[in-house]
Protein backbone atom coordinates (compact mmCIF):
# COMPACT_ATOMS: atom_id res chain seq x y z
CA UNK A 1 0.00 0.00 0.00
CA UNK A 2 2.79 2.33 0.91
CA UNK A 3 4.56 1.56 -2.34
CA UNK A 4 1.45 2.10 -4.44
CA UNK A 5 0.78 5.50 -2.92
CA UNK A 6 4.34 6.50 -3.63
CA UNK A 7 4.13 5.37 -7.23
CA UNK A 8 0.91 7.24 -7.82
CA UNK A 9 2.33 10.32 -6.25
CA UNK A 10 5.44 10.81 -8.35
CA UNK A 11 5.72 8.56 -11.32
CA UNK A 12 8.58 10.66 -12.69
CA UNK A 13 10.45 10.30 -9.42
CA UNK A 14 10.07 6.59 -9.47
CA UNK A 15 11.41 6.48 -12.97
CA UNK A 16 14.41 8.58 -12.00
CA UNK A 17 15.23 6.51 -8.96
CA UNK A 18 15.09 3.45 -11.11
CA UNK A 19 17.84 4.86 -13.30
CA UNK A 20 20.21 5.93 -10.55
CA UNK A 21 22.95 3.94 -8.87
CA UNK A 22 21.81 1.97 -5.87
CA UNK A 23 23.65 3.72 -2.97
CA UNK A 24 21.96 7.01 -3.83
CA UNK A 25 18.56 5.49 -4.31
CA UNK A 26 18.92 3.85 -0.91
CA UNK A 27 19.67 7.22 0.62
CA UNK A 28 16.74 8.82 -1.15
CA UNK A 29 14.34 6.16 -0.05
CA UNK A 30 15.44 6.74 3.52
CA UNK A 31 15.03 10.46 3.24
CA UNK A 32 11.67 10.28 1.59
CA UNK A 33 9.48 8.62 4.18
CA UNK A 34 8.78 8.75 7.86
CA UNK A 35 6.32 6.96 10.07
CA UNK A 36 4.74 8.16 13.31
CA UNK A 37 2.71 5.88 15.54
CA UNK A 38 0.05 7.63 17.61
CA UNK A 39 -1.40 5.62 20.49
CA UNK A 40 -4.31 6.91 22.52
CA UNK A 41 -6.76 6.28 25.32
CA UNK A 42 -9.72 8.21 26.71
CA UNK A 43 -12.15 7.97 29.62
CA UNK A 44 -10.09 5.36 31.41
CA UNK A 45 -12.03 6.36 34.57
CA UNK A 46 -9.63 4.95 37.15
CA UNK A 47 -9.94 1.45 35.67
CA UNK A 48 -6.59 0.29 36.92
CA UNK A 49 -7.61 -3.33 37.16
CA UNK A 50 -9.43 -5.23 34.41
CA UNK A 51 -13.23 -5.17 34.68
CA UNK A 52 -14.23 -7.74 37.28
CA UNK A 53 -17.82 -8.30 36.20
CA UNK A 54 -20.40 -7.35 33.63
CA UNK A 55 -20.16 -7.21 29.85
CA UNK A 56 -16.51 -6.10 29.88
CA UNK A 57 -15.39 -8.72 32.41
CA UNK A 58 -11.72 -9.52 31.99
CA UNK A 59 -11.03 -6.59 29.65
CA UNK A 60 -8.80 -3.57 30.11
CA UNK A 61 -6.32 -3.12 32.93
CA UNK A 62 -3.23 -0.94 33.34
CA UNK A 63 -0.80 -3.83 33.45
CA UNK A 64 -1.84 -5.14 30.08
CA UNK A 65 -2.07 -1.69 28.56
CA UNK A 66 1.52 -1.06 29.64
CA UNK A 67 2.51 -4.36 28.10
CA UNK A 68 0.86 -3.62 24.74
CA UNK A 69 2.46 -0.16 24.67
CA UNK A 70 5.88 -1.58 25.52
CA UNK A 71 5.59 -4.11 22.72
CA UNK A 72 4.75 -1.39 20.20
CA UNK A 73 7.63 0.79 21.43
CA UNK A 74 10.02 -2.06 20.76
CA UNK A 75 9.02 -2.12 17.10
CA UNK A 76 8.27 1.53 16.38
CA UNK A 77 10.79 4.34 16.59
CA UNK A 78 8.43 7.32 16.75
CA UNK A 79 5.57 6.78 19.17
CA UNK A 80 3.28 9.46 20.57
CA UNK A 81 1.05 8.35 23.46
CA UNK A 82 -1.93 10.56 24.31
CA UNK A 83 -4.98 10.57 26.58
CA UNK A 84 -8.16 12.55 25.89
CA UNK A 85 -9.35 13.07 29.47
CA UNK A 86 -11.55 11.60 32.21
CA UNK A 87 -8.60 9.81 33.68
CA UNK A 88 -10.34 10.08 37.06
CA UNK A 89 -13.47 8.61 38.74
CA UNK A 90 -15.08 5.24 38.45
CA UNK A 91 -13.39 2.89 40.89
CA UNK A 92 -12.47 3.18 44.58
CA UNK A 93 -8.87 3.82 43.49
CA UNK A 94 -10.02 7.35 42.74
CA UNK A 95 -12.23 7.65 45.80
CA UNK A 96 -9.31 6.60 47.94
CA UNK A 97 -6.25 8.08 46.33
CA UNK A 98 -7.63 11.00 44.34
CA UNK A 99 -6.00 10.03 41.05
CA UNK A 100 -2.45 9.71 42.33
CA UNK A 101 -2.01 6.17 41.08
CA UNK A 102 -3.65 6.94 37.72
CA UNK A 103 -1.03 9.65 37.05
CA UNK A 104 1.84 7.51 38.30
CA UNK A 105 0.88 4.67 35.98
CA UNK A 106 0.52 6.97 32.99
CA UNK A 107 3.93 8.44 33.77
CA UNK A 108 5.42 4.96 33.90
CA UNK A 109 3.82 4.17 30.53
CA UNK A 110 5.43 7.38 29.21
CA UNK A 111 2.35 9.25 28.09
CA UNK A 112 3.39 12.32 26.10
CA UNK A 113 0.35 14.44 26.95
CA UNK A 114 -3.25 14.40 28.18
CA UNK A 115 -6.17 16.79 28.13
CA UNK A 116 -8.61 17.47 30.97
CA UNK A 117 -12.05 15.85 31.09
CA UNK A 118 -15.04 16.91 33.18
CA UNK A 119 -14.53 14.08 35.67
CA UNK A 120 -10.96 15.18 36.22
CA UNK A 121 -12.57 17.95 38.32
CA UNK A 122 -14.39 15.42 40.53
CA UNK A 123 -12.00 15.92 43.42
CA UNK A 124 -12.24 19.64 42.77
CA UNK A 125 -9.79 21.76 40.87
CA UNK A 126 -7.63 21.67 44.01
CA UNK A 127 -7.70 17.88 43.93
CA UNK A 128 -6.56 17.92 40.31
CA UNK A 129 -3.78 20.42 41.01
CA UNK A 130 -2.67 18.34 44.00
CA UNK A 131 -2.09 15.28 41.81
CA UNK A 132 -0.14 17.06 39.07
CA UNK A 133 3.27 16.37 40.65
CA UNK A 134 2.59 12.66 40.05
CA UNK A 135 2.35 13.24 36.29
CA UNK A 136 5.54 13.66 34.28
CA UNK A 137 3.61 14.58 31.13
CA UNK A 138 1.96 17.90 30.25
CA UNK A 139 -1.76 18.65 30.39
CA UNK A 140 -2.88 20.43 27.25
CA UNK A 141 -5.95 22.65 27.35
CA UNK A 142 -6.52 25.62 25.07
CA UNK A 143 -10.11 26.51 25.98
CA UNK A 144 -10.06 26.32 29.78
CA UNK A 145 -8.86 29.61 31.15
CA UNK A 146 -7.38 28.68 34.51
CA UNK A 147 -5.81 32.07 35.18
CA UNK A 148 -8.04 32.74 38.21
CA UNK A 149 -7.59 29.25 39.68
CA UNK A 150 -5.00 27.10 41.42
CA UNK A 151 -4.28 25.51 38.02
CA UNK A 152 -2.95 28.80 36.63
CA UNK A 153 0.27 28.18 34.72
CA UNK A 154 0.05 24.41 35.23
CA UNK A 155 -1.34 23.54 31.82
CA UNK A 156 -0.27 24.43 28.29
CA UNK A 157 -2.55 25.24 25.38
CA UNK A 158 -0.46 23.10 23.05
CA UNK A 159 2.85 21.36 22.65
CA UNK A 160 5.00 20.51 19.65
CA UNK A 161 6.54 17.05 19.63
CA UNK A 162 9.49 16.38 17.39
CA UNK A 163 9.54 12.76 16.37
CA UNK A 164 12.40 12.11 13.99
CA UNK A 165 12.00 14.50 11.05
CA UNK A 166 8.33 15.19 11.84
CA UNK A 167 6.89 18.01 13.90
CA UNK A 168 3.57 17.09 15.50
CA UNK A 169 1.52 19.83 17.11
CA UNK A 170 -0.97 18.75 19.76
CA UNK A 171 -3.53 21.01 21.44
CA UNK A 172 -6.24 20.24 23.98
CA UNK A 173 -9.97 21.05 24.15
CA UNK A 174 -12.34 20.58 27.09
CA UNK A 175 -16.12 20.40 27.34
CA UNK A 176 -18.42 23.12 28.75
CA UNK A 177 -18.45 22.65 32.51
CA UNK A 178 -21.59 24.58 33.48
CA UNK A 179 -24.46 22.20 34.20
CA UNK A 180 -22.14 19.22 33.91
CA UNK A 181 -19.74 19.79 36.78
CA UNK A 182 -20.70 21.59 40.00
CA UNK A 183 -19.19 25.07 40.02
CA UNK A 184 -17.76 24.45 43.48
CA UNK A 185 -15.48 21.88 41.83
CA UNK A 186 -14.29 23.83 38.79
CA UNK A 187 -14.43 27.19 40.58
CA UNK A 188 -13.28 30.09 38.39
CA UNK A 189 -12.28 28.00 35.40
CA UNK A 190 -13.52 29.84 32.33
CA UNK A 191 -14.72 27.86 29.34
CA UNK A 192 -13.76 29.43 26.02
CA UNK A 193 -15.36 28.74 22.65
CA UNK A 194 -13.74 25.52 21.39
CA UNK A 195 -14.20 26.35 17.69
CA UNK A 196 -12.49 29.73 18.07
CA UNK A 197 -9.66 28.28 20.14
CA UNK A 198 -9.21 25.30 17.83
CA UNK A 199 -9.03 27.59 14.82
CA UNK A 200 -6.44 29.73 16.54
CA UNK A 201 -4.39 26.77 17.81
CA UNK A 202 -4.40 24.85 14.53
CA UNK A 203 -3.32 27.94 12.60
CA UNK A 204 -0.55 28.66 15.03
CA UNK A 205 0.68 25.06 14.99
CA UNK A 206 0.52 24.74 11.22
CA UNK A 207 2.05 28.07 10.24
CA UNK A 208 3.94 29.60 13.19
CA UNK A 209 5.20 26.33 14.66
CA UNK A 210 5.54 24.77 11.19
CA UNK A 211 4.02 21.47 12.24
CA UNK A 212 3.67 18.68 9.72
CA UNK A 213 0.72 17.19 11.55
CA UNK A 214 -1.83 18.83 13.83
CA UNK A 215 -3.66 16.80 16.46
CA UNK A 216 -6.58 17.99 18.56
CA UNK A 217 -6.93 16.17 21.87
CA UNK A 218 -10.61 16.66 22.60
CA UNK A 219 -12.98 15.88 25.43
CA UNK A 220 -15.97 17.40 23.62
CA UNK A 221 -17.63 14.11 22.67
CA UNK A 222 -17.97 12.39 19.31
CA UNK A 223 -21.38 13.50 18.08
CA UNK A 224 -24.72 14.68 19.48
CA UNK A 225 -28.29 14.69 18.25
CA UNK A 226 -28.61 18.38 18.95
CA UNK A 227 -26.30 21.16 17.79
CA UNK A 228 -23.96 20.86 20.79
CA UNK A 229 -20.34 21.21 19.82
CA UNK A 230 -18.77 17.80 19.17
CA UNK A 231 -15.75 16.39 17.39
CA UNK A 232 -17.82 15.96 14.22
CA UNK A 233 -18.91 19.60 14.23
CA UNK A 234 -15.47 20.83 15.25
CA UNK A 235 -13.87 19.01 12.32
CA UNK A 236 -16.25 20.62 9.85
CA UNK A 237 -15.97 24.14 11.24
CA UNK A 238 -12.20 24.36 11.51
CA UNK A 239 -9.14 24.16 9.28
CA UNK A 240 -5.63 22.76 9.58
CA UNK A 241 -6.51 19.93 11.97
CA UNK A 242 -5.39 16.51 10.70
CA UNK A 243 -6.60 14.33 13.54
CA UNK A 244 -9.03 14.65 16.43
CA UNK A 245 -8.52 12.18 19.25
CA UNK A 246 -11.76 12.28 21.16
CA UNK A 247 -13.34 11.28 24.45
CA UNK A 248 -16.30 11.91 26.77
CA UNK A 249 -18.92 10.02 24.76
CA UNK A 250 -17.29 6.61 25.40
CA UNK A 251 -17.56 5.88 21.69
CA UNK A 252 -16.28 2.62 20.28
CA UNK A 253 -15.38 3.10 16.63
CA UNK A 254 -14.64 0.30 14.19
CA UNK A 255 -12.49 2.75 12.26
CA UNK A 256 -11.63 6.44 12.50
CA UNK A 257 -14.28 8.67 10.97
CA UNK A 258 -13.19 10.91 8.09
CA UNK A 259 -14.82 14.33 7.84
CA UNK A 260 -14.05 17.12 5.37
CA UNK A 261 -13.07 20.36 7.04
CA UNK A 262 -13.71 23.98 6.01
CA UNK A 263 -10.96 23.69 3.39
CA UNK A 264 -12.40 20.46 2.03
CA UNK A 265 -9.48 18.55 3.48
CA UNK A 266 -9.94 15.31 5.39
CA UNK A 267 -9.89 15.24 9.18
CA UNK A 268 -9.66 11.94 11.03
CA UNK A 269 -11.66 11.47 14.22
CA UNK A 270 -10.90 8.53 16.46
CA UNK A 271 -11.97 7.46 19.94
CA UNK A 272 -11.12 4.38 21.99
CA UNK A 273 -14.28 3.52 23.93
CA UNK A 274 -13.65 3.86 27.65
CA UNK A 275 -12.26 2.11 30.72
CA UNK A 276 -8.95 1.28 29.04
CA UNK A 277 -10.60 -1.46 27.00
CA UNK A 278 -9.16 -0.15 23.76
CA UNK A 279 -5.85 1.40 22.81
CA UNK A 280 -6.27 3.44 19.68
CA UNK A 281 -3.41 3.18 17.20
CA UNK A 282 -2.79 5.25 14.10
CA UNK A 283 0.30 4.79 11.97
CA UNK A 284 0.87 7.90 9.93
CA UNK A 285 3.21 7.83 6.94
CA UNK A 286 4.84 10.99 5.65
CA UNK A 287 6.47 11.54 2.30
CA UNK A 288 8.68 14.31 0.92
CA UNK A 289 8.16 13.69 -2.75
CA UNK A 290 6.64 17.03 -3.35
CA UNK A 291 3.30 18.09 -4.65
CA UNK A 292 1.43 20.34 -2.33
CA UNK A 293 -1.83 20.26 -4.26
CA UNK A 294 -2.49 17.07 -2.38
CA UNK A 295 -4.13 15.12 -5.13
CA UNK A 296 -2.35 12.15 -3.67
CA UNK A 297 -1.90 13.40 -0.16
CA UNK A 298 -5.29 12.33 1.02
CA UNK A 299 -5.30 10.25 4.16
CA UNK A 300 -5.84 6.72 3.12
CA UNK A 301 -7.28 4.38 5.63
CA UNK A 302 -5.57 1.07 5.50
CA UNK A 303 -7.95 -1.31 7.18
CA UNK A 304 -6.73 -2.65 10.47
CA UNK A 305 -8.27 -5.47 12.37
CA UNK A 306 -11.53 -4.32 13.85
CA UNK A 307 -11.21 -5.02 17.50
CA UNK A 308 -13.91 -3.81 19.79
CA UNK A 309 -16.04 -4.81 22.70
CA UNK A 310 -16.98 -8.44 22.91
CA UNK A 311 -20.67 -9.13 22.77
Amino acid sequence: MKRRTFVKKASLGTLLIGGVASPLSGMIAERKQAKITILHTNDVHSRIEPFARGRYAGQGGAIRRAQVIAQIRKKEEHVLLLDAGDIFQGTPYFNYFGGELEFKLMSEMQYDAATIGNHDFDAGIDGLAKQLPHANFPFLSSNYDFSDTIMAGKTKPYQVFKKGPIRIGVFGLGIALEGLVPKVLYKNTRYLDPVLKATEMAHRLRYDERCDYVVCLSHLGYNYRDASISDMILAKRTADIDLIIGGHSHTFLDAPTVVKNGQDKPVLINQAGWGGIILGRLDIYFDWSGKSDCTYCENILVGGAVLREKT
Binding site: P182, D212, N270, Y285, I300
Partner: protein, 248 residues
Protein backbone atom coordinates in the same frame (compact mmCIF):
# COMPACT_ATOMS: atom_id res chain seq x y z
CA UNK B 1 22.79 11.51 -20.30
CA UNK B 2 23.30 9.81 -16.99
CA UNK B 3 24.64 13.04 -15.47
CA UNK B 4 21.61 15.01 -16.66
CA UNK B 5 19.28 12.60 -14.97
CA UNK B 6 21.25 12.97 -11.80
CA UNK B 7 21.18 16.76 -11.90
CA UNK B 8 17.48 16.75 -12.57
CA UNK B 9 16.98 14.51 -9.60
CA UNK B 10 18.93 16.87 -7.34
CA UNK B 11 16.80 19.80 -8.51
CA UNK B 12 13.70 17.77 -7.89
CA UNK B 13 14.87 16.93 -4.40
CA UNK B 14 15.79 20.51 -3.58
CA UNK B 15 12.47 21.70 -4.86
CA UNK B 16 10.51 19.23 -2.85
CA UNK B 17 12.57 19.67 0.30
CA UNK B 18 11.13 23.13 0.81
CA UNK B 19 7.60 21.90 0.74
CA UNK B 20 7.84 19.64 3.78
CA UNK B 21 6.40 16.21 4.23
CA UNK B 22 2.92 15.27 3.17
CA UNK B 23 0.81 12.62 4.78
CA UNK B 24 0.49 9.77 2.36
CA UNK B 25 -1.42 7.28 4.38
CA UNK B 26 -2.74 6.48 7.79
CA UNK B 27 -3.37 3.03 9.08
CA UNK B 28 -5.16 2.27 12.29
CA UNK B 29 -5.77 -0.47 14.75
CA UNK B 30 -7.90 -0.17 17.83
CA UNK B 31 -6.19 -2.62 20.09
CA UNK B 32 -8.23 -4.52 22.58
CA UNK B 33 -6.57 -4.64 25.95
CA UNK B 34 -7.00 -8.19 27.15
CA UNK B 35 -5.05 -11.39 27.27
CA UNK B 36 -2.14 -12.71 29.24
CA UNK B 37 -0.06 -10.58 31.56
CA UNK B 38 3.61 -11.09 30.87
CA UNK B 39 6.74 -9.00 30.31
CA UNK B 40 8.69 -6.53 32.38
CA UNK B 41 6.61 -3.47 31.54
CA UNK B 42 3.76 -5.23 33.25
CA UNK B 43 5.89 -6.07 36.26
CA UNK B 44 6.71 -2.42 36.95
CA UNK B 45 3.05 -1.43 36.73
CA UNK B 46 2.05 -4.28 39.03
CA UNK B 47 4.69 -3.14 41.48
CA UNK B 48 3.27 0.40 41.46
CA UNK B 49 -0.30 -0.78 41.91
CA UNK B 50 0.35 -3.30 44.68
CA UNK B 51 0.64 -0.97 47.71
CA UNK B 52 -2.45 1.01 46.68
CA UNK B 53 -4.41 -2.14 46.08
CA UNK B 54 -3.38 -3.57 49.42
CA UNK B 55 -4.27 -0.37 51.24
CA UNK B 56 -7.57 -0.08 49.43
CA UNK B 57 -8.50 -3.67 50.07
CA UNK B 58 -7.73 -3.23 53.74
CA UNK B 59 -10.07 -0.25 53.87
CA UNK B 60 -12.76 -1.63 51.58
CA UNK B 61 -12.82 -4.89 53.50
CA UNK B 62 -12.87 -3.20 56.89
CA UNK B 63 -15.97 -3.92 58.90
CA UNK B 64 -17.54 -0.66 59.99
CA UNK B 65 -20.80 -1.95 61.43
CA UNK B 66 -23.42 -4.64 61.60
CA UNK B 67 -26.76 -4.80 59.76
CA UNK B 68 -29.47 -6.27 62.02
CA UNK B 69 -31.74 -7.39 59.20
CA UNK B 70 -31.48 -7.03 55.44
CA UNK B 71 -32.51 -3.62 54.12
CA UNK B 72 -34.13 -3.93 50.73
CA UNK B 73 -34.85 -1.20 48.23
CA UNK B 74 -38.30 -0.45 46.85
CA UNK B 75 -41.11 2.08 46.57
CA UNK B 76 -43.16 3.97 47.62
CA UNK B 77 -41.07 3.42 50.75
CA UNK B 78 -38.52 0.78 51.66
CA UNK B 79 -36.26 -0.27 54.50
CA UNK B 80 -33.17 0.74 52.57
CA UNK B 81 -34.57 4.05 51.26
CA UNK B 82 -35.92 5.01 54.68
CA UNK B 83 -32.61 4.23 56.35
CA UNK B 84 -30.50 6.22 53.90
CA UNK B 85 -32.84 9.24 54.04
CA UNK B 86 -32.93 9.12 57.85
CA UNK B 87 -29.15 9.05 58.00
CA UNK B 88 -28.90 11.97 55.55
CA UNK B 89 -31.28 14.04 57.70
CA UNK B 90 -29.35 13.31 60.89
CA UNK B 91 -25.99 14.03 59.27
CA UNK B 92 -27.11 17.19 57.45
CA UNK B 93 -28.29 18.60 60.80
CA UNK B 94 -25.01 17.58 62.44
CA UNK B 95 -22.80 19.01 59.72
CA UNK B 96 -24.66 22.32 59.28
CA UNK B 97 -25.40 22.72 62.99
CA UNK B 98 -29.01 23.64 62.20
CA UNK B 99 -32.20 21.56 62.27
CA UNK B 100 -33.38 19.82 59.10
CA UNK B 101 -37.06 19.37 58.25
CA UNK B 102 -36.49 16.31 56.07
CA UNK B 103 -34.03 14.65 53.69
CA UNK B 104 -34.54 12.99 50.32
CA UNK B 105 -32.57 11.03 47.78
CA UNK B 106 -33.48 10.02 44.29
CA UNK B 107 -34.13 6.28 43.96
CA UNK B 108 -31.44 6.01 41.31
CA UNK B 109 -28.86 7.28 43.77
CA UNK B 110 -29.03 3.98 45.66
CA UNK B 111 -27.20 1.49 43.50
CA UNK B 112 -27.73 -1.88 45.17
CA UNK B 113 -31.04 -3.67 45.73
CA UNK B 114 -30.20 -4.81 49.23
CA UNK B 115 -27.88 -4.15 52.14
CA UNK B 116 -27.51 -7.68 53.47
CA UNK B 117 -27.85 -8.62 57.13
CA UNK B 118 -24.59 -9.28 58.90
CA UNK B 119 -21.23 -7.53 58.93
CA UNK B 120 -21.24 -4.20 57.10
CA UNK B 121 -18.00 -3.59 55.20
CA UNK B 122 -16.96 -0.14 54.02
CA UNK B 123 -16.95 -1.38 50.43
CA UNK B 124 -20.67 -2.10 50.67
CA UNK B 125 -21.40 1.59 51.25
CA UNK B 126 -19.27 2.38 48.19
CA UNK B 127 -21.44 -0.01 46.21
CA UNK B 128 -24.58 1.56 47.66
CA UNK B 129 -23.43 5.14 47.00
CA UNK B 130 -20.67 5.11 44.38
CA UNK B 131 -21.12 8.69 43.16
CA UNK B 132 -19.31 11.56 44.73
CA UNK B 133 -22.47 13.52 45.44
CA UNK B 134 -22.23 16.12 48.14
CA UNK B 135 -24.92 16.37 50.80
CA UNK B 136 -26.50 19.83 50.57
CA UNK B 137 -29.36 21.68 52.26
CA UNK B 138 -31.96 23.74 50.40
CA UNK B 139 -34.42 26.17 51.95
CA UNK B 140 -37.72 25.60 50.17
CA UNK B 141 -41.09 27.34 50.30
CA UNK B 142 -44.26 25.33 50.81
CA UNK B 143 -44.91 25.69 47.08
CA UNK B 144 -41.49 24.26 46.24
CA UNK B 145 -41.97 21.39 48.69
CA UNK B 146 -45.27 20.60 46.95
CA UNK B 147 -43.48 20.64 43.59
CA UNK B 148 -40.84 18.29 44.93
CA UNK B 149 -43.56 16.05 46.40
CA UNK B 150 -45.27 15.86 43.02
CA UNK B 151 -41.97 15.03 41.38
CA UNK B 152 -41.25 12.24 43.86
CA UNK B 153 -44.81 10.96 43.47
CA UNK B 154 -44.47 10.88 39.69
CA UNK B 155 -41.41 8.64 40.19
CA UNK B 156 -43.38 6.25 42.44
CA UNK B 157 -41.94 7.68 45.65
CA UNK B 158 -38.36 8.49 46.55
CA UNK B 159 -36.51 7.79 49.78
CA UNK B 160 -37.59 10.41 52.37
CA UNK B 161 -36.72 10.72 56.04
CA UNK B 162 -38.82 10.17 59.14
CA UNK B 163 -41.25 12.97 59.87
CA UNK B 164 -42.22 13.49 56.22
CA UNK B 165 -45.54 11.98 55.23
CA UNK B 166 -47.59 12.05 52.08
CA UNK B 167 -50.00 10.12 49.93
CA UNK B 168 -49.51 9.52 46.24
CA UNK B 169 -52.50 9.86 43.96
CA UNK B 170 -52.34 10.16 40.19
CA UNK B 171 -48.64 10.97 40.32
CA UNK B 172 -49.11 13.85 42.74
CA UNK B 173 -48.37 14.34 46.44
CA UNK B 174 -51.36 14.81 48.77
CA UNK B 175 -51.82 15.59 52.45
CA UNK B 176 -48.13 16.36 52.87
CA UNK B 177 -47.21 16.60 56.54
CA UNK B 178 -43.91 17.52 58.09
CA UNK B 179 -43.65 16.69 61.78
CA UNK B 180 -47.42 16.17 61.68
CA UNK B 181 -48.12 19.66 60.31
CA UNK B 182 -49.57 20.45 56.92
CA UNK B 183 -47.45 22.67 54.70
CA UNK B 184 -47.69 26.32 55.72
CA UNK B 185 -47.24 29.14 53.24
CA UNK B 186 -45.34 31.29 55.71
CA UNK B 187 -42.75 28.63 56.45
CA UNK B 188 -39.36 27.85 54.96
CA UNK B 189 -38.38 24.17 54.98
CA UNK B 190 -34.80 23.03 55.29
CA UNK B 191 -34.42 19.98 53.03
CA UNK B 192 -31.24 17.86 52.77
CA UNK B 193 -30.50 16.12 49.47
CA UNK B 194 -27.70 15.06 47.12
CA UNK B 195 -26.28 18.02 45.23
CA UNK B 196 -26.99 16.00 42.10
CA UNK B 197 -30.72 16.63 42.64
CA UNK B 198 -30.19 20.21 43.77
CA UNK B 199 -28.27 20.83 40.56
CA UNK B 200 -31.23 19.69 38.49
CA UNK B 201 -30.41 16.01 38.13
CA UNK B 202 -33.22 13.48 37.62
CA UNK B 203 -35.39 16.21 36.04
CA UNK B 204 -35.24 18.48 39.08
CA UNK B 205 -34.55 21.64 37.08
CA UNK B 206 -37.02 23.48 39.33
CA UNK B 207 -34.43 23.28 42.13
CA UNK B 208 -31.51 24.76 40.22
CA UNK B 209 -32.32 28.37 41.14
CA UNK B 210 -32.42 27.57 44.86
CA UNK B 211 -29.30 28.46 46.80
CA UNK B 212 -27.46 25.47 48.24
CA UNK B 213 -26.00 25.27 51.70
CA UNK B 214 -23.02 22.98 51.75
CA UNK B 215 -22.48 20.38 54.44
CA UNK B 216 -18.95 19.90 53.12
CA UNK B 217 -19.35 16.13 53.12
CA UNK B 218 -20.07 13.52 50.50
CA UNK B 219 -23.28 11.56 50.96
CA UNK B 220 -21.27 8.36 51.07
CA UNK B 221 -18.90 9.67 53.72
CA UNK B 222 -21.83 10.99 55.75
CA UNK B 223 -23.35 7.51 55.77
CA UNK B 224 -20.04 5.80 56.61
CA UNK B 225 -19.49 8.32 59.39
CA UNK B 226 -22.94 7.57 60.80
CA UNK B 227 -22.38 3.80 60.68
CA UNK B 228 -19.05 4.10 62.46
CA UNK B 229 -20.50 6.22 65.25
CA UNK B 230 -23.40 3.80 65.72
CA UNK B 231 -20.95 0.93 65.77
CA UNK B 232 -18.83 2.58 68.45
CA UNK B 233 -21.97 2.81 70.56
CA UNK B 234 -22.72 -0.85 69.93
CA UNK B 235 -25.77 -0.05 67.79
CA UNK B 236 -26.70 -2.24 64.84
CA UNK B 237 -28.08 -0.83 61.62
CA UNK B 238 -31.85 -1.20 61.47
CA UNK B 239 -34.75 0.39 59.69
CA UNK B 240 -38.53 0.27 59.67
CA UNK B 241 -41.48 0.98 57.44
CA UNK B 242 -43.82 3.59 58.94
CA UNK B 243 -46.04 4.51 56.01
CA UNK B 244 -44.25 7.80 55.36
CA UNK B 245 -45.23 7.51 51.70
CA UNK B 246 -48.38 5.62 50.82
CA UNK B 247 -50.36 5.17 47.65
CA UNK B 248 -53.95 6.33 47.91
Amino acid sequence: MYRNWFLFLIILLLGSACKGPQVTQVSFTNLEIAGVETEQAAAKIAELVAPYKTQMQVEMNAQIGEVAESLTKGSPESLLGNWVADVLAIQAAAYTGKPIDFAISNSGGLRIPELSAGPLYRGMIYELLPFDNMLVVLELSAEQVQKLANHMASHGGWPVSKGYKMYIKEQKGYDIRIADHLLADDRIYRVAMPDYIANGGDDCAFLVSVEQESTGILMRDAVIDFVEIENEQGEHIRSSLDGRIQRM
